[in-house]
Amino acid sequence: MEIKLKLNGRAVTAAVEADTTLFDLLREKGCYSVKCGCETSNCGLCTVFLDDVPVLSCSVLAARADGRAVTTLEGLQEEAADFVGFIADQGADQCGFCNPGFVMNTIALLRENPDPTDDEIRGYLAGNLCRCSGYEGQLRGIRAYLDSRKGKGAQNGN
């Protein structure tokens, strides 16, 4: 079947099978930031926005995107660049394979809740697995970003 969607702001037409996942479609369209870590909706690596709501693209059929807007990290470079440097300062990017999904979900969190507590951050991102960092560095990075935005020092997150 043929579907029409908005991918990162551009109108896209795609021929998909009934069982094509949104994940497969996005990589086929060159959105290589979208990663697959598990195939069972457990890892959060394939997180993208469907009409601005974070979804796991490995578990959404491409056909569901018909007539809707899909956003990947390729489409949010500036919004991401705003805070990911704080993650880099912690060295918490590590292997990086989980980063795009984690960054997408962090953007969703901050849009929804611009001033989250540490527990709210942990809770919102609980579905984003990372095997390298032990998570604390990611939290420190987000906290440092939030503090910098408030114009405070960067060290009172712990």
Partner: protein
Amino acid sequence: MATENYRYVGHAMRKKDSMQLLLGKPVYTDDIVPRDALVVKLLRSPHASALVEEIDTSIALKVPGVVAVYTWKDVPKTRFAIAGQTYPEPSPYDRLILDRQLRFVGDPVAIIAAENEKAANKAMRLVKVKYKLLPAILDMHEALDNPVLVHPEEDWYPPCPVGGDNRRNLVASDVESNGDVDKVLADCDIVIDRTYHTRAFQQAMMETFRTYAEMDRYGRLHVISSTQIVFHCRRILSRALGIPKSRVRVEKPRIGGGFGAKQTAVCEVYPAFVTLKTGRPAELIYTREESQIAGSPRHEMEIRVRLGASSDGRIRALDLHTLSNTGAYGEHGPTTVGLSGHKSIPLYTGSLEAFRFAYDVVYTNLQPAGAYRGYGATQGIFAVESAVNELAERLGVDPTELRDRCMVREGMNMPAYYGEPAAACALDRCMAHCREMFDWEHRYPVRDMGNGKVRAAGVAMAMQGSCISSVDVGSATVKLSEDGTYNLIIGAADMGTGCDTILAQMAAECLDCPVENIAVFGADTDVSPYDSGSYASSTTYVTGKAVEKACNELKGQICRIAADLLGCAAEDTVFEGDRVRCAADGRTVSMEEVAYKSQVGNVHAAEVTATHSSPVSPPPFMVGMAEIELDKGTGEVKVLNYMAVVDCGIPVNPALARIQTEGGIVQGIGMTLTENVTYDHNGRPVESSLMQYKIPTRLDMGHLKVEFEHSHEPTGPFGAKSIGEIVINTPAPAIAHAIYRATGVWHRELPITPEDIAMSRPEETHRA
């Protein structure tokens, strides 16, 4: 502190690839290869032990889009090992690309290559196989001298003498000792005799195994793989495929995590074989299920510890026997087991009078094991540290004070550690520092919270190595560019750890230039100087030293070129980072002028390759302390706080060293509490997805606090030792200790699940 004299070493800075990774740029294997590559899939054995009696691919080949289906009849008959180790490998040559005999659930039966995934999957279902079921060995205790042989083949071959015998299901066996351990044990006031069991835990790196292969423009096999070992991989492919090494090129792009899993060429041979046969590009990406059931996990081990001590808490003797389960193939079997003793017993060099360490490594019809961060030390340290905690509790002595009396200290020689010295050792300071940071005095006492929950704490020490002594080789090439910047080319593999960055920091320190002026490239067998690869915690220590050597030699070359420009003798020049000065008259030439001169009528190479190997493997040391809250009703354990102090010599990049430590601790918490490995009646791992194999989320690890105690390793670059592996070793014994404190029960098997805790009773502590 010595590091304050350095401008770049000892300073936190971003990883060179940070922004590429965080902004989701295409940098991994599957992001950079052509889209029209053949999709490779493997039909896997549903049986733990079977023979392929008949196999019919004719129907599968009729599926539109299917290009080839290969079976055992199509592959070379030379056995090889896929363990990434220096030749001659300690691991036996016990594999074929496809074997008629199948040895575990998941062993490949056929290779399918198709234009797309759908066709490949459809063809896989249409390969008709008649299996002859054979008896299987699913329990490692039954393996040795069982009449059922996992590897009955005549051409089984061990390149190294490691005490193995395939007619006994034995991969390796050895015993070593120092002093009369039986005599000392007989003389001890107290002997703790316990057996510990750890499972085949999965690395579960986020990027599963994957490899792409193509014929390049010279007609050579070009392999792009997510690997920690490009050079070993080239050698393995050459042997497995029967083609010369000069016809193979292996490179790695960015790697989505390894933790040792990718120190084994788990999937490289299959797409490489397809490309050689078809001449077409081919790519194989393991599903998470394949990574879980046919990967390269930790060796399951059972370790018996006999620990003898005096009544005042001096550990006098340690007697270890390790039974290790290598599974269906022997990758890393003979070597992982060694660390279970060599990196646990020496922790007590301070008081030890005698030790013995014996082991057997056996084949079973289960998933083959491999290398996983800690590499056997993790298992051995769980056993020995648990036994030491049990000793302390039995004697009623504070377990940190007991360790103060017995631990290895700087300047000691370690008989149980290949007779090597502890030239840099801050373990005593790590203990004091951690005790204070953790507030051990107040957290160690058990606290009943009055709501069915109990808070308690536990402690453990750890060590590791910094390379394989006299074996690992690291190299670095440094070359000057026209604008006075440098290229640093390495064969070590940055798998997220940040080695590209810390090696650039070392180069910047030597060459007295900003880290941004060092462009790093790695790793590619056609381009990189030889490096055994990123494993055994060796990159900082071995490759780092090679970088230091290369930079110092390059400075000499630069001064020679500058001397021509300045019209003075090379001995009279001074390297000053951005310029070279003539000492006699103070005239200088800029690095840019030197660089351009190096390209005009010049005979001094502005490029140096240096190689390093070390006769010693200086251990890093660590102390970890866990505070838990345990629900007595449900057995649930929450880690509230995990604090650790590490002596890695000096941390070259403190931010990255801290993240390594935090990440290792969380992996350790996972294998202690939630990551289980069980098998069904047929030997198939039950935990075949991340839904069942529960790696920690950010809600499962409590608060981490990591600090460092510096020491100065005289043989390390800038005094550095290693950090990558040691960090996974303390959580299991420390948390098991805390669980004992909370419940009165010692759990000697990992993981320790809520069910185990809820169903256990205190008196069981005396069984066993």
